[in-house]
Symmetry: C2
Subunit: 148 residues, 2 copies
DNA sequence: CTGGATCCTCTAGTCGCTAGAGGATCAAGC
DNA sequence: GCTTGATCCTCTAGCGACTAGAGGATCCAG
């Protein structure tokens, strides 16, 4: 039953301070008590709730799914069909994504293997990009990679 | 040597009209000629350039990389080291991503397999989310999945 | 000559944070 | 008591790569 500052909470859950304020703003974390000087004061349950959120994010669940999941965790007397459905959905999304990335990997490997040492005019990488018909298979990356 | 409206260009390259205007705005596509009534007029080279961009995006290259790649394609007398390096970088990013997603998939499979039919209080999905120590391996999704 | 498609510019929204400005407060050392 | 540096506060804006929508002009087929 220890009280935590936002900084301590952040360290405890390995999350950045502004992220906590952001989660509060969008209603994933409840508004905590405040000191007289308006500083947030958290209890241990906040650490658990934040860890839950962090873990779900690591597993790739979008915020709105986490909202549902938290709701279920808060109400253990409700049926958990939604949780199962969300997990299944997430699994499908991950599997789709892996398949797409494997197609990309194959294409990129071909590009890299054919890479040239000379002039851009003869570069297989650039040529491959210019002409989709050179590709062995269909591929499409739905979003950016290598974010940080 | 046909002239195209923006709509025709969009259909030719299978890209949305606002995306073309966006690419122009950020300087990936040059500003085209205009009709008297200010409508954009494109030549065939714009179709090729846009196809190049689209293909590179499909392969997951970020815009800034594509800028470099286009630069090289525009200057065939320059060396193509950069193109090779970018392709290699992109390949590494894809491989990292695949590895992460495979760890996620394993974790999600475990969650789904243990899924319950009953109450949220007994739900293995929620329990797994609440307690990272239940996880078989490390995992971390660097970004969202299933975008569209 | 009319009506629906297409075009124009501009602004704001998406997602999940992250960074920074500008200022208040706290805790530790002297 | 005083200073200093860490931490806290709110607020706004930015990231990437678009996408959506408002409000209006223009084009073309029938």
């Amino acid at each position: 039953m220890t009280a935590h500052t936002i900084g301590r909470l952040a360290r405890a859950a390995d999350v950045k301070v502004p992220t906590i304020r952001f989660y509060e703003q969008i209603g994933l974390l409840p508004e905590p008590d405040r000191t007289e000087s308006d500083r947030r004061v958290y209890q241990d349950d906040a650490v658990r709730r934040l860890a839950f959120i962090k873990h779900a994010r690591q597993l790739g669940f979008p915020i709105e799914a986490i909202r549902t999941l938290l709701d279920l965790a808060d109400n253990p007397d409700r049926t958990c069909e939604d949780a199962n459905a969300l997990a299944q959905e997430q699994l499908s999304a991950v599997e789709t994504k892996i398949a797409q990335l494997e197609a990309l990997r194959a294409e990129l490997k071909r590009m890299v293997a054919a890479g040239c040492d000379g002039l851009a005019g003869d570069c297989r990488v650039i040529e491959t990009l210019a002409d989709h018909s050179l590709c062995a298979q269909e591929h499409a990356a739905p979003e950016r990679l290598a974010p940080a």
